[in-house]
């Protein structure tokens, strides 16, 4: 509007050749574009906001507001302007909407007065007033609670706010809210909030309340049963309930911090196609998250952040092809006890030639795998039947031995360890391909690896047939694929990613050379080659039954023996190993 007016003024002056008045000149000089307003907002420029307010354009205020950093409290110089122009009929609404994480009692009082006068359920003041973390407003919010909109399944926003603050005055109204559960809109948050008061006294009060309400027909059977069960559980073991509640609160706090850092995350996501810049930007975001998580001192929270470090470390390793750059992130991931991050860290150190560092990392991993009582079982539990744990323990030990002595692996591998290795390969491969787009049809995702969730659709879990394997072999042996895998750094993570292509090489020596590059001790190679030899001996259809043929489609290569079988035979012979079939 103002831009249009300015244009008209300019055009008018050109056409009429008349001098502009002082007021017109001032207007032209003070004109602010939408983009400029956004820039001012991004910089939290209070003087800029004052200029926009003077122009009286609510759209510019909104542009300023949308661009403001959400992670920090509202700067005092901006909050004071919201306060000063709170009731301005033109820019007031946009300024009130701007007050994210406001800080002063004065602004709360203005919102309170507006909410007290509000008569419409959808009045945004009911949202705005709660956008603060300042203490001491609970009593006032409780007084306003009956005016707050309630939605089935969402409860009353004021009571939810107070419940989250564990305000004692909200206990009775929250208990009363339980009678709204299971009335067509599902279940509201009242029970959850009451359980998170971490107070057996509150739970007993809630328990009495639901008995009373159910007794006089104000509570449905289903709502009562649900509340009864959860309250009984909490009252039976209050300490466990409180511990669980703390854990949830920590996760909630972490997610809140993630929301605050949303802008940094978005900035990084936009750079995903520029590896070096992405690593830097995402590292900045993770540093902010990590700093907060450290303060909570909760292993579950630390692990959450560790998973994100793993993601970034693998991106730096595989996509940015920067093993050294990946190390700090992978180290953080290992410290946070993320399994994939731990092995990637140890393996990267090993490939970078940091023998001592690699030994220490593998030893730490082995200790974790051997610890049956750790709060988080990073590598499973050392009990019979946990095949993946058996694999971890035997591989870590073999790798430590290799690093210490320089000798290649030559020894027994148990049935459990073999089985555990392939379980790991099947579960992990899909996640790793995410980091190297040239080989993956999967879209790039910013989320953390989630082994359990993709298991149901993992193609390796569906038995294939030889024509399908032949098709996989044909694709894996294409020159483009071979060229693409050559770009990857030496790493077992690379091997996870390229095992299909390596197995499809036509030269047995090249197959073994590629394995040797990525797997210095040869432990993984032993299992892969041993498995190929086993299927060669026992009938290759077994490789369809257990899915190995899909992971190493070189099994479908022409020739008798074919290059992969030849490589397997050579490898086993060179290491003095044999496959022992179990009857």
């Amino acid at each position: 509007m103002r831009a249009a007016l300015a244009t008209v003024l300019v055009l008018a002056s050109l056409v009429t050749d008349a001098a502009l008045t002082d007021a017109e000149k001032k207007l032209l000089n003070s004109s602010v574009s939408v983009d400029r307003a956004a820039e001012m907002g991004k910089a939290s420029d209070a003087a800029g906001l004052a200029q926009i307010i003077a122009l009286g354009d609510p759209n510019l205020v909104s542009s300023f507001s949308r661009a403001m950093p959400r992670s920090e409290p509202l700067p005092p110089a901006i909050e004071s302007q919201v306060l000063a122009h709170f009731d301005d009929p033109v820019v007031g609404p946009a300024l009130r909407a701007m007050a994210i994480r406001y800080q002063t009692r004065a602004l709360f009082d203005r919102f309170y007065a507006a909410a007290d006068k509000a008569y419409q359920d959808g009045d945004p003041v009911f949202e705005y007033i709660l956008r603060t973390d300042q203490p001491g407003i609970e009593e006032a919010v409780l007084k306003l609670a009956p005016k707050f909109p309630t939605k089935p399944g969402w409860g009353n926003a004021a009571l939810n706010f107070l419940g989250a603050r564990k305000y004692p005055g909200a206990v009775d109204p929250l208990i009363k809210e339980l009678s709204e559960d299971d009335r067509g809109g599902g279940y509201g948050p009242a029970l959850y909030l009451l359980l998170h008061y971490d107070s057996p006294e509150v739970w007993r009060k809630a328990s009495d309340g639901i008995e009373r309400m159910h007794g006089d027909g104000r509570m449905t059977d289903a709502a009562y049963k649900r509340a009864r069960t959860d309250l009984d559980t909490a009252l039976r073991d209050p300490q466990a309930a409180i511990a669980s509640s703390h854990k949830e609160e920590h996760m909630k706090a972490l997610n809140a911090r993630r929301s605050q850092l949303y802008q940094l995350m978005q900035d990084a996501a936009r750079l995903r196609s520029e590896p070096a810049r992405y690593v830097e930007a995402q590292g900045k975001y993770l540093a902010g998250l990590d700093e907060f998580a450290s303060g909570l001192n909760d292993p579950a929270v630390t692990w959450e952040v560790a998973r994100e470090y793993t993601n970034l470390g693998l991106y730096a390793l595989l996509t940015a092809n920067d093993p050294k750059g990946a190390l700090p992130f992978l180290e953080k991931a290992a410290k946070g006890r993320d399994d994939f991050g731990t092995i990637a860290f140890a393996d990267t150190l090993e490939h970078l030639g940091d023998k001592a560092g690699a030994i220490a990392a593998y030893e730490a991993a082995l200790a974790a795998a051997n610890d049956a009582h750790a709060p988080r079982q990073t590598f499973g539990t050392p009990v019979p039947g946990d095949n993946m744990n058996e694999f971890w323990r035997s591989w870590f030990a073999a790798e430590i031995e290799h690093l210490r002595t320089g000798s290649m692996f030559r020894g027994r591998v148990s049935e459990g360890a073999i089985s555990g290795f392939w379980q790991f390969v099947i579960l992990s491969r899909s996640n790793v391909t995410t980091y190297f787009q040239a080989l993956s049809s999967a879209r790039v995702v910013t989320g953390s690896p989630a082994y359990a969730s993709h298991g149901l659709t993992n193609p390796v879990y569906i038995r294939g047939d030889w024509p399908e394997i032949a098709e996989l072999y044909s694709r894996a042996s294409s020159p483009e694929r071979l060229q693409a895998i050559a770009q990857l750094p030496a790493s077992r993570i690379s091997l996870l990613l390229t095992m299909a292509e390596v197995s499809a090489r036509t030269d047995p020596a090249a197959i073994l050379s590629d394995f040797a590059r990525d797997d210095p001790s040869g432990y993984w190679t032993t299992i892969v080659m041993g498995t190929v030899a086993h299927h060669q001996a026992a009938g290759r259809d077994g490789a369809l039954d257990d899915g190995v043929a899909k992971l190493v489609p070189g099994m479908a290569a022409p020739g008798q023996p074919n290059p992969l079988e030849t490589a397997a035979r050579r490898f086993m012979q060179s290491r003095g190993l044999r496959v022992a079939e179990k009857r």
């Binding site: 006068k117 591998v413 073999i418």
Partner: protein, 416 residues
């Protein structure tokens, strides 16, 4: 293409015809009592309760080229007089004598035209040339065909000139009889023209914003206070308030007519069309309108927008709640709930926008009979509109794909 000169000449000719009409002095017309009998065409037995309309149809004088006729006179949709009567137990009827002054034409030959109707018989139209005995034939076909026959009787050649007769108020008995027949036939009777189609009887309510003179964009409710009479003719009246949503009709106006179907559903009672209803309009965001004594020809109601303040909105809602409560307190509550349904739905809709504390003070509780009635009405509409689910087709289930098994069955050992 017509030329300017051609248009000018046509204008002169028409103006001349009008001038000739205007210059002709009115002449007296009249007739004594018109007597006759209605009998069953097959049995010859008298038919009691048949409505007989006698029309003395008018032939206008025209000199010049008017409506394609040259000189002399043309048949018109007017009458010089229309009367009606009801046959007695012997089938006899008597239309009262009359006199009138009229200019610009003459009564058609062989007048009056007699038009008779009794439910279950084919409607009949004949001129005096055929005598005054009206032989009604029983109708034996399908209800829809009967309705079409009545529609011909209303607007076909030699019919009642339903859509054109400016003197439609002269035949209240025939209007009521055909309206009742339309009700009796229900969905099969839709061909029968409603009296709303008659000149000056549409009841069209034009709703305008008092300030902008435009139609308000908000939903609203028309509140119509009818006077009802007993269908069986027994003495006594009662007042009934019917409410209609303004948003459910696509027309640019809302018909407020005693003939509009469905009317207020009150068992044993029907609207007395002779008594004008009181009409009021409630539009969301506006002050309720003043009460208007409604003419059958329709009219305009202007509504004034509220200033949007908390006080004005709440005051208006409180007034509406008072009006609703007064209606629900009268007589049969279930009947009142049904009649007030659009009003209640509109009120609850506005209530839902209020903060919970105000809802608790002003609105009907969620477990009240009002809230249940509104809920049922809203969901009844959905259920009625929901199309029938297509027949389920058997889909072949994909064969279960075989799963892989864990790698097992061997170990790796040292060769020696």
């Amino acid at each position: 293409m017509r030329t300017l000169a051609g248009n000018f000449i046509a204008l002169i000719v028409v103006a001349h015809a009008v001038l000739v009409q205007a210059q002709t002095p009115p002449k007296p017309y009249g007739a004594g009592e018109t007597r006759g009998q209605v009998v069953d065409a097959d049995s010859g037995a008298p038919v009691e309760g048949a409505i007989v309309v006698a029309r003395w149809e008018w032939r206008e004088h025209r000199y010049g080229i008017v409506l394609g006729h040259m000189g002399g006179g043309v048949r018109s949709t007017q009458t010089v007089h229309t009367g009606e009567a009801v046959s007695n137990a012997q089938g006899h009827f008597t239309v009262a004598q009359w006199t009138a002054m009229k200019a610009g034409g003459d009564v058609e030959e062989d007048m009056p035209r007699l038009l008779a109707f009794k439910s279950g018989y084919e409607p009949l139209s004949q001129t005096a040339k055929s005598g005054n005995t009206l032989r009604l034939k029983k109708f034996a076909g399908e209800p829809k065909a009967y309705a079409q026959l009545i529609e011909q009787f209303q607007d076909g050649r030699g019919g009642l000139e339903w859509s054109f007769d400016q003197d439609s108020f002269a035949i209240p008995k025939m209007v009521t009889a055909l309206h009742r027949e339309r009700i009796r036939l229900g969905a099969d009777g839709t061909a029968i023209a409603s009296p709303e189609k008659m000149p000056n009887r549409s009841g069209a309510l034009h709703l305008v914003d008092a300030a902008t003179k435009m139609e308000p964009n908000e939903h609203g409710v028309i509140w119509i206070e009818w006077t009802m009479r007993r269908i069986d003719g027994a003495p006594g009246t009662r007042r009934v308030v019917q409410t209609l949503p303004t948003s459910s009709l696509l027309e640019r106006y809302i018909p407020v007519s005693p003939w509009r179907l469905p009317g207020p559903q009150v068992a044993g009672w029907e609207i007395d069309p002779a008594l004008k209803p009181l009409v009021r309009v409630y539009v969301t965001g506006y002050q309720r309108s003043a009460d208007v004594r409604w003419e059958e020809k329709g009219g305009t109601i202007a509504v004034t927008r509220l200033d949007g303040s908390r006080e004005s909105v709440l005051a208006e809602l409180r007034a509406r709640r008072k009006d609703i409560d007064a209606q629900l307190a009268q007589g049969d509550r279930a009947e009142a709930l049904a009649l007030q349904e659009p009003m209640l739905a509109n009120f609850q809709f506005q209530c839902a926008r209020l903060t919970p504390d105000l809802r608790a003070e002003l609105c009907f509780a969620v477990d009240s009979d009002v809230a249940r009635a509104v809920y049922a009405a809203n969901h009844r509409d959905v259920v009625e509109r929901r199309p029938t689910a297509p027949a389920q087709q058997a889909m072949p289930m994909p064969a279960r794909l075989p799963s892989t098994i864990p790698v097992k069955g061997f170990t790796i050992e040292l060769a020696q």
